[in-house]
Symmetry: C2
Subunit: 327 residues, 2 copies
DNA sequence: TATTGCCGTGGAAGCGCTTCCACGTGTGGG
DNA sequence: CCCACACGTGGAAGCGCTTCCACGGCAATA
């Protein structure tokens, strides 16, 4: 068992009988190196169990070797959300392809911890901000601009990637109308997330087209809120015949809340969600919803920051209606 | 608008009219500094928008400022699993308390990418390995030993934290027995995860105690597997009157598969899961299960590596039976 | 007034790595 | 046979930061 100190590149170079410069070239695979040198260094690396120091490497090469994901949100709940899990999974994949690490940051809303501190910019290859708010985005250090992308919100400040929840909502609500529903309530997302506005707008338009009043209650994308929202809606508008929630989690909660109220779904009230999460097809009745290609979106964002390409400011990914039993 | 290069500590020192050493002391808050110096440096920092470079800091101070979470698993699915999301949430919190970052790594089973490469040890304050396999654990660089903890598996190699799924399973299966079930099938976890062994053992013991045969099929903690497992069980042992799955996700899938087969739950077959995930109470019928204090476990593991305390090698957290409608 | 002690400070030495540059070598063409 | 040109190599200069150490100035003590 060797001493405490872990092996450095100098140790490797010495063991291999070459200079540190040569050892570095071999280890990184950059620059010329004779077969002989390559061999000896490789042997030494294996023998000493050498692992390059990420910090030193980042410092010397002044290049990013890390993809940071910052999740903005009011509570810890956001990280428990399957949505974030899918984003992280995807990011981890893209990062693995590029051989960069992923760092994860949870930024509370109205955070004293800003994205600036988070970044510690050297060694940061790119930053993907999930559900950014404008103030949060403004704390991104200047040096990083151009290596930042947003997902979950369409903003023009940085390249953004999001699902097209305008047409998605349109599709769902029209489906409800086409099955004879007219008194349709909507549970939105949290008010600090502007992405819901486009959806609400789409909903209003359809309601207007068929001469119905709008029934909007604020949500927060959680299942718990769905339960209370169901009660709220049925007490404010007892003749409601359909509920559309901008999140499957919430829709599932609505299903539960309605069940507790003794309301039959879809016989009495139809329920539809948005996202098409894995559980959507496991609920009873199975949830009608609209897809949300989270993986595609996250991959696009991760690639955008890592490749540093100057893309269109906002990209919307299409959402597709999935009709199951609940509506 | 200042030049491209972001401000360094030298810039701050110059602007404040002090030496770099003093500036460093003020910024880190370590070491003596006069009120005057503190003031001037603080002003300069604010003015220049200075952000310390994490890499350089880690390199110079040779101290860890990052908590790494490595998730071991066969497919990307593991990261989509709510379990991992909860672990990450918790880790992010603990890390935020300690003012360290979190990095996330997905390590495929039989990974060419080992935990060694992941670590790039400098700047790593600790490593929590989720669902470690012994080979994976062996790739952890020596320098890191003592700053590594495992969760999701009880291993003696490093401090480990896991739910006590032996007594948890015992509780669930005895509950099934107490409600008159005798022909109970079990869907296990993935075979590469040794943690399931203790659970299977507990199940076998109860079955033996009441003179029933064991009916075990291998699972993988996914809902999809639950659907196929239900079909498999009902065709192999048509008289089965209860199914216990070691994961709620799988149990939910079993519910779905049984429904497709026209089997009534719990009338014909009782179903129970393990984990008590959020969706457990949203399914119809609501799922009977046993708790899994993921947050507590993850917090304990994160604290253990960050505080570098020499705790007991294996800690099991108790699981509590939650009876709902499905069993 | 001379001596001891302490505190705030700046100089300088690295942390482990990448990369520029200059320096031999060995090859091909003139 | 000599010059040009590659190519592989080692020396050395940093990357931005922390921290050791020695130094000067001040107040407290003799």
């Amino acid at each position: 068992m060797r001493g405490q100190r872990s092996a450095t590149l100098d140790d490797v170079a010495r063991a291999a009988g070459v200079s540190r410069a040569t050892a570095s070239r071999v280890v990184t695979g950059q620059g010329p190196a004779s077969a002989r040198a390559r061999d000896r260094v490789a042997t030494a690396v294996a023998e000493l169990g050498y692992v390059p120091d990420a910090a030193a490497r980042a410092l010397a090469s002044r290049s990013g070797t890390r993809l940071a994901i910052a999740v903005i949100g009011r509570t810890a709940a956001v990280l428990g959300d399957p949505y974030v899990g899918r984003v992280l999974t995807t990011a981890a994949h893209i990062a693995a392809e590029r051989e960069v690490g992923v760092s994860l940051h949870w930024v509370p809303l109205n955070a004293p911890v800003t994205l600036a501190g988070l970044a510690g910019s050297r060694g940061l290859g790119g930053l993907v901000v999930v559900n950014p708010t404008r103030p949060a985005l403004e704390t991104v250090p200047r040096a990083l601009r151009g290596r930042v992308a947003a997902i979950g919100v369409g903003t023009r400040d940085v390249p953004s990637f999001d699902v097209d929840n305008r047409t998605g909502t349109d599709g769902v609500v029209r489906h409800l109308v086409s099955t004879g529903r007219r008194r349709i309530a909507m549970v939105t997302g949290p008010s600090w997330l502007p992405c819901g506005d486009r959806a609400v707008e789409a909903y209003r338009r359809v309601m207007q087209d068929c001469g119905s009043e709008t029934r909007v209650v604020a949500g927060d994308f959680t299942a718990a809120r769905g339960v209370t929202a169901a009660a709220e809606i049925m007490s404010r508008w007892p003749d409601t015949d359909a509920v559309f929630a901008l999140s499957d989690l919430t829709a599932l909660g609505v299903l539960d809340g309605l069940h507790a109220l003794g309301v039959q779904v879809p016989a009495d009230v139809a329920v539809a969600g948005f996202d098409d999460i894995a559980f959507a097809c496991l609920s009873r009745p199975a949830l009608t919803t609209s897809t949300h290609p989270v993986e595609e979106i996250a991959a696009a964002a991760a690639r955008a920051v890592l490749d540093h390409d100057g893309r269109d400011p906002v990209t919307f990914f299409p959402s597709r209606l999935v009709v199951r039993e609940s509506a």
